[in-house]
């Protein structure tokens, strides 16, 4: 995927990095998105789509695309061959999976199932002559359905399968499958549930090697992006998940490009400002492996205090975000919040700021800038005043007086000493 127009957008495009950690089917939306953005030549995208579909069972879809590209009605032989094979496989699987599928399709029978796995298996065996193997076939069948793009069927089957299966390994795979299906069906709530289940599972499960566990985590991070950026409270969940040590480790070792999403989420999410410091360190330490306008923005603003640079980066961020499948929806939020950050930091180190200049920097005319600042002062409880005659913002002294300092420092001492003495006496009593 080279060439194409776009204003440096493809330079920061990390789709290919992300795609490597996604399921084929999940990559598809990304490609669709890229197509609409038009940073890459149409043909390239189409070709990669076909490439993508080659290994799935969505043969008809691939044929369509092929026709679209080449403008002919003919399709290459291999595709038709493949089609035959797929259909053959489908028939075969359908036949073998028939008993269990029939059973599951019959609602009355399904009612007989209980919450007890052992009982269910025994019951199936006794009453319907459905053996363990048949259940395993169900898994295969679901997988096949997924490959064919029949996600809802797949999800249904997998739910049932997980209710019946006994093997941990396949149950785990099934969960991944279900997660993928839910994502593709855009059932974000269910997907979130699955995500949490998976997370729990990965963290608790003792993997044979730490490496495998790491890989699972990296996948999970990537897949979860779909959920987080579509769920209403997703950003929060994203931050929650990624700031955990183990996920930070995973990001650092395997997927530094995820920093973009973490950074964006933290900037957008005002409540998570306390994590900013953490983020800065992370971004700084990973600068040598990964940097893009979003992370550079953070470095400029909080490490170098280079406001001009930050402003520039912010502009770049806009294009980057707009061309990012996941972040495209929150460009405005991001820009607004980033601006706020710039202003706040600016205020912290300045005593007097020229409003004209500020307006300039914030891309506003002076009057609206004044309003914006006034609002900010109110909201952020900044100790600042506007001197409208001189057209400046004057910051109040932030330095607390000696008196305040002492009060501040001694405030907690009493309580702490109290706790301390309590603890000492308490332990003494126990000893006595």
């Amino acid at each position: 995927m080279t060439g194409g127009s776009g204003d440096g957008a493809e330079q920061w495009d990390i789709t290919s990095k992300i795609a490597g950690n996604l399921d084929r089917h999940l990559v598809f939306p990304l490609l669709e998105f890229l197509q609409t953005r038009g940073i890459y030549p149409e043909e390239d995208i189409m070709n990669s789509k076909i490439e993508l579909l080659k290994h799935t069972n969505m043969v008809d879809f691939a044929m369509d695309i092929y026709r679209q590209i080449n403008g002919t009605e003919d399709v290459p032989n291999e595709m038709t061959e493949r089609r035959k094979v797929v259909i053959g496989n489908l028939r075969e699987l359908q036949a073998t999976a028939a008993p269990i599928v029939d059973f599951l399709l019959d609602e009355n029978k399904v009612k007989d199932l209980r919450n007890d796995k052992a009982y269910n298996i025994k019951m199936l065996q006794d009453q319907y002559n459905i053996s363990q193997d048949d259940i395993e076939v169900l898994f295969k069948f679901a997988k096949f359905q997924f490959e064919c793009g029949n996600y809802s069927a797949c999800a249904d089957f997998l739910v049932q399968y997980r209710g019946l299966c006994t093997k941990l390994e396949t149950s785990f795979s099934a969960l991944w499958g279900k997660f993928a299906s839910e994502i593709l069906l855009q059932n974000w709530n269910e997907a979130l549930e699955d995500l949490n289940k998976l997370q729990e599972y990965i963290d608790s499960k003792s993997f044979t090697s730490a490496l495998a566990q790491l890989q699972q985590r990296i996948w999970l991070i990537h897949w979860s992006l779909f959920v987080f950026f579509n769920h209403e409270n997703g950003m929060n969940f994203l931050v929650d998940m990624l700031v955990q040590d183990r996920y930070i480790n995973a990001i650092q070792t395997g997927a530094p490009h995820m920093l973009r999403y973490l950074a964006a989420a933290i900037i957008i999410n005002k409540k998570r400002r306390n994590l900013l410091k953490e983020l800065i360190k992370l971004v700084k330490s990973e600068r040598y492996v990964y940097s893009d306008p979003v992370t550079e923005f953070i470095v400029c603003l909080f490490v170098d205090y280079d406001f001009e640079g930050a402003q520039k980066k912010l502009k770049e961020c806009e294009t980057v975000l707009a061309n990012d499948y996941f972040l495209t929806a929150c460009v405005d939020d991001f820009v607004e919040n980033a601006r706020l950050f710039i202003f706040e930091t600016y205020c912290r180190i300045h005593e007097t700021i020229d409003m004209k200049m500020l307006a300039n920097k914030l891309n506003m005319d002076q009057e609206s800038a004044e309003k914006w600042i006034a609002n900010l002062i109110r909201n952020a409880r900044l100790n600042a005043k506007i001197d409208s005659q001189q057209g400046t913002v004057v910051m109040g002294s932030q330095q607390p007086g000696v008196y305040e300092q002492i009060v501040e420092k001694t405030k907690s001492l009493t309580a702490r000493t109290y706790h301390l003495s309590n603890a000492v006496i308490g332990s003494g009593k126990i000893n006595a």
Binding site: A250, S285, D306, Q405, T417, V424
Partner: protein
């Protein structure tokens, strides 16, 4: 009883003996007179004074008239002859009554006496009487041994003495073989020196320690047999014979009194006469071990000519193995050494016993040892270094051999050896080595066809000559073009196939290699992710040393890259121990006198050869300069508490220099850095940069210009920081332009640095944006002394409460863990500026396993603000102790066996 008496000492017996001698003199007259004439001729050349018997020394000194002197001379000669003949007579008597105990003692005496005579003057010829006695004894011995019945009836001690005598005499007679033969030829019947004794290795083993006097070079019985063997016509030798001989040789290995040279010689002959290829392989392998046996002790290296020979032999074996794929070498294989066997058919699969990898490792070790000993400034050293190619060639071949049989763990072992030869070489050195290899190969190729057969034959003969025959590099030796690729291949192979220690070593070598090639981040990540920092404390000393060296290289690499805090972090740990030479294995300190010689020897054996040394001056410069850049700001701001200090050694140095009344112009590294520090503390970056760049060590860096440039810019920034914090309070406002001019930096840099200081509240001021000035809020003017004291009191109180809490927490587990977490926001904001390691701290633990204390502490860095900070310093201390332990541990290991006293000193030092 008599024997006892005699044994007491040969110097004082004359007086008491003379009577008994005179009685017996008549009986021995013929022989002694005969011998007298002989010995006289030999003793004429004797120096008179030194020939004087000790008893008479005083006489000859006091009266010096010539007559007397003459008399004395005669008497001395007489005495000597008398003594000899007396002893010989005694022996004869003892022989007659078959008293072998007596014979043995007298024989010892005889030898002593002879030795004395010899010491007294330059005796050119053995006294005839002595030779005669030997012959007689030999005969009697043969008779006694032949007479089995008599032997049986002997008393136990007597029989034992007989056996001892047999051994002694044999050894002794070796030296006089010619004389004895002459004597026999001349007078007595030709008594051929047949092998009277059956194979009695075990006996000889028990009794071999009997010889203790000056005649060390006595040869054991086996030698005697071999001499004819080596002179045999190769055509007469059968497969089985060769096997048997080599087996005998092997059994004699390591025995006292075995002449290793002879062994090797015989073995070489065996190689020459070997009947089949497999036998040749076997013999060559045996020969190699014989060569290796010639190293006299563990701490001395194998003589270089022998090393060369051994190396050539190994190459021979390898070539043979290549030529004859049906021959395999197996370490555990038991070779059949019976004499009767026939050689296997040519081409049939044969196994020979031998340890190729052992040979390789030994070869490598000996090479390493020799480099430790050779003076690095001589041509010899360089020549020796060139042999590294041969080792690599051998390693490659051995590795190929084992790779064919898919013995991956062995190949990994070899790979580690190869890696250890490569890791410390920069790309330039590697290229040079490769070029040398090409040249050598050409040389070898041109020389080989002409001189091969003769050279080999010659080599076999001239073992005695200490001439260095360089080993020709095999023609099929290839060196990879790219050292990185080569390293990568080897190291990855090791990761896949080797045990933990090999892996760890390979990893360290890899990191080292990456560091010297300026790949800092990869090197660091490798180090952190591999958890080597924790594991290394439990590893062997050699690996710990390698770890220390790797840390040093990472530090240097970070410095070259301008990552001062990282550089300092790596190096200060090493320097904290105060024994940098020792922990880098680049020299032994004599400071600890409590080491036993063995410990010292051990330590010496661990030393790195010169070409692998890390330049200590450079290391020290980098360490001190990094400390300077990090610490000067704290030096200047007296009010920053001690907690911010990072480098203890730097502070010690500062304190030391503070005490000096007069500071001369800088001479060594420390002087330079200290002068720089003082300049920097005044904000005088020009002077500082000038002094620092005068250091000679920068010439050692290939990227000198860049490094100096980096240093200058760092110094500028630091000077700016220092200037603003120190002198800022004296200003009411400072213009950015002025700062730019003063420190020759861009406006942006000033902005960044000052903003950072404002945010971290290191200066009390803020920007006045319209005029581009910094407005200082002078805090000192409106705080009274009382207020200052109150502030100090409060912080003391805080510390008190904290330490109380900590003390309690120690007892009860974690008391206020939660509040520690809650205290997050409290910290001062300057963490980002000063400490980039937080993220890394996390990375130490990529897989979420339980972490070691150090990493945890690191990880918490910055979360905790003030309190965390102090605690973190604790972490530093702790870690530094660890650094010390790296070495302390090694000495600890050594000391372990030494008992409580040593332990006590150790713990004292630790404290």
């Amino acid at each position: 009883m008599a024997s006892r008496f005699f044994a007491r000492g040969s110097s004082s017996e004359d007086d008491t003996e003379t009577e008994s001698e005179s009685e017996e003199y008549s009986t021995t007259e013929e022989t002694s007179s005969e011998s007298e004439s002989e010995t006289e001729s030999s003793s004429e050349s004797e120096n008179e004074k030194s020939g004087v018997n000790r008893f008479l020394v005083s006489d000859s000194d006091s009266d010096s008239d010539s007559e007397d002197n003459r008399r004395v001379l005669r008497s001395a000669k007489d005495k000597r002859v008398e003594e000899l003949s007396t002893i010989v007579e005694e022996i004869r008597n003892k022989l007659k009554i078959n008293d072998w105990v007596g014979v043995g003692t007298n024989f010892d005496k005889l030898n002593k006496q002879l030795d004395k005579i010899r010491r007294a003057g330059n005796l050119t010829k053995t006294p005839k009487i002595y030779v005669k006695a030997l012959v007689e004894m030999e005969d009697a011995l043969a008779a006694a041994l032949a007479n089995k019945e008599a032997k049986k009836s002997m008393s136990k001690s007597n029989a034992k003495a007989l056996n001892a005598m047999k051994q002694n005499l044999k050894k002794n007679n070796k030296d006089y073989e010619a004389e004895i033969k002459a004597r026999r030829d001349a007078g007595d019947e030709d008594d051929s020196d047949e092998d009277t004794d059956s194979d009695s290795y075990d006996e000889s083993d028990v009794e071999a320690e009997a010889e203790d006097d000056g005649f060390e070079k006595v040869k054991s019985k086996q030698e005697k047999k071999k001499v004819p063997f080596t002179q045999m016509d190769p055509k007469d030798i059968t497969y089985g014979m060769v096997m048997k001989k080599s087996h005998e040789l092997m059994l004699a290995r390591g025995r006292k009194g075995t002449d290793k040279r002879d062994q090797a010689k015989t073995m070489e002959f065996a190689v020459k006469v070997a009947k089949t290829e497999s036998q040749r392989a076997q013999m060559t392998l045996n020969l190699i071990s014989a060569f290796f046996d010639m190293a006299s002790a563990l701490h001395t290296h194998l003589p270089i000519p022998i090393w060369n020979r051994a190396c050539a032999s190994i190459l021979d074996v390898l070539a043979l193995l290549e030529r004859c794929p049906y021959v395999t070498v197996d370490e555990t294989f038991e070779q059949d050494y019976s004499e009767e066997q026939e050689g296997p058919e040519e081409g049939a699969a044969v196994t020979v016993a031998g340890n190729l990898i052992g040979c390789l490792e030994r070869l490598d070790d000996e090479w390493f040892k020799s480099l430790q000993v050779i003076d690095p400034h001589t041509e010899d050293y360089v020549d020796r270094l060139k042999d590294e190619l041969v080792i690599l060639a051998v390693a490659q071949k051995v590795s190929n051999y084992f790779a064919k049989t898919a013995q991956h763990s062995v190949v990994a072992r070899i790979a580690l050896r190869q890696v250890e030869h490569l890791y410390f070489k920069t790309e330039a050195v590697y290229k040079a080595m490769r070029a040398l290899a090409e040249i050598k190969k050409k040389e070898a190729a041109s020389a080989e066809p002409a001189a091969e057969p003769e050279a080999k034959a010659a080599a076999a003969v001239e073992l005695e000559e200490e001439e260095i025959v360089p080993v020709a590099l095999p023609a099929d030796f290839t060196m990879e073009e790219d050292p990185h690729a080569l390293m990568k291949d080897l190291v990855h192979f090791i990761y896949k196939n080797a045990d933990e220690r090999t892996k760890a070593r390979a990893m360290l070598c890899d990191i080292y290699h990456k560091s010297i090639h300026n790949d800092f981040y990869t090197a660091r990540d490798l180090l952190l992710m591999s958890h080597l920092q924790d594991a290394v404390l439990n590893m062997d000393i050699a690996t710990q040393l390698l770890f220390n060296r790797t840390m040093a290289q990472i530090g240097l690499c970070a410095f070259r890259k301008g990552l001062i805090p990282d550089a300092h972090h790596c190096l200060s740990e090493l320097y904290a121990s105060g024994r940098i030479r020792e922990i880098l294995a680049q020299g032994v300190l004599l400071r600890y006198h409590d080491r036993t010689p063995e410990q010292e020897k051990l330590e010496k054996r661990r030393q790195m050869p010169f070409h692998m040394h890390i330049n200590l001056e450079l290391l020290e410069s980098v360490n001190l300069i990094s400390a300077m850049l990090l610490e000067t700001i704290h030096l200047v701001n007296i009010n920053t508490e001690t907690r911010r200090r990072v480098s203890k050694s730097f502070w010690r140095l500062v304190e030391h220099y503070d005490k000096l009344t007069f500071m001369g112009p800088p001479e060594n590294v420390r002087d330079h850095v200290m002068t720089g520090t003082y300049a920097l503390s005044q904000g005088d970056w020009k002077r500082c940069a000038e002094v620092i760049s005068k250091l000679g060590v920068w010439d050692l860096l290939p990227q000198k210009a860049e490094v100096l440039e980096m240093l200058t810019s760092k110094i500028k920034e630091e000077a700016l920081r220092i200037y603003v914090t120190t002198f800022g309070p004296h200003y009411s406002s400072i213009a950015v332009d002025q700062l730019c001019k003063m420190f020759d930096v861009s406006e942006n840099t000033v902005q960044t640095i000052v903003s950072r200081l404002i945010i971290s509240e290191d200066i009390h001021g803020s920007w006045h944006q319209p005029t581009q000035t910094i407005v200082m809020r002078s805090s000192s003017s409106n705080t009274t002394k009382l207020q200052k004291l109150a502030l100090r009191c409060v912080s003391s109180a805080q510390i008190l409460v904290e330490s109380n809490e900590k003390a309690l927490a120690l007892r009860t587990g974690s008391l206020r863990e939660r509040e520690d977490g809650g205290g997050k926001g409290k910290g001062r904001g300057d963490w980002e500026g000063r400490d980039g390691k937080q993220g890394r701290g996390r990375k130490w633990n990529p897989h979420g396993k339980a972490t070691g204390g150090y990493r945890d502490r690191k990880g918490q860095r910055g979360d905790r603000g003030d309190r965390g900070d102090r605690r973190d310093r604790k972490g530093h201390h702790h870690r530094r102790d660890h650094g010390h332990q790296d070495v302390a541990y090694s000495s600890f290991q050594r000391r372990k066996q030494e008992g409580p006293r040593e332990m006590a000193t150790l713990s004292k030092r630790r404290n």
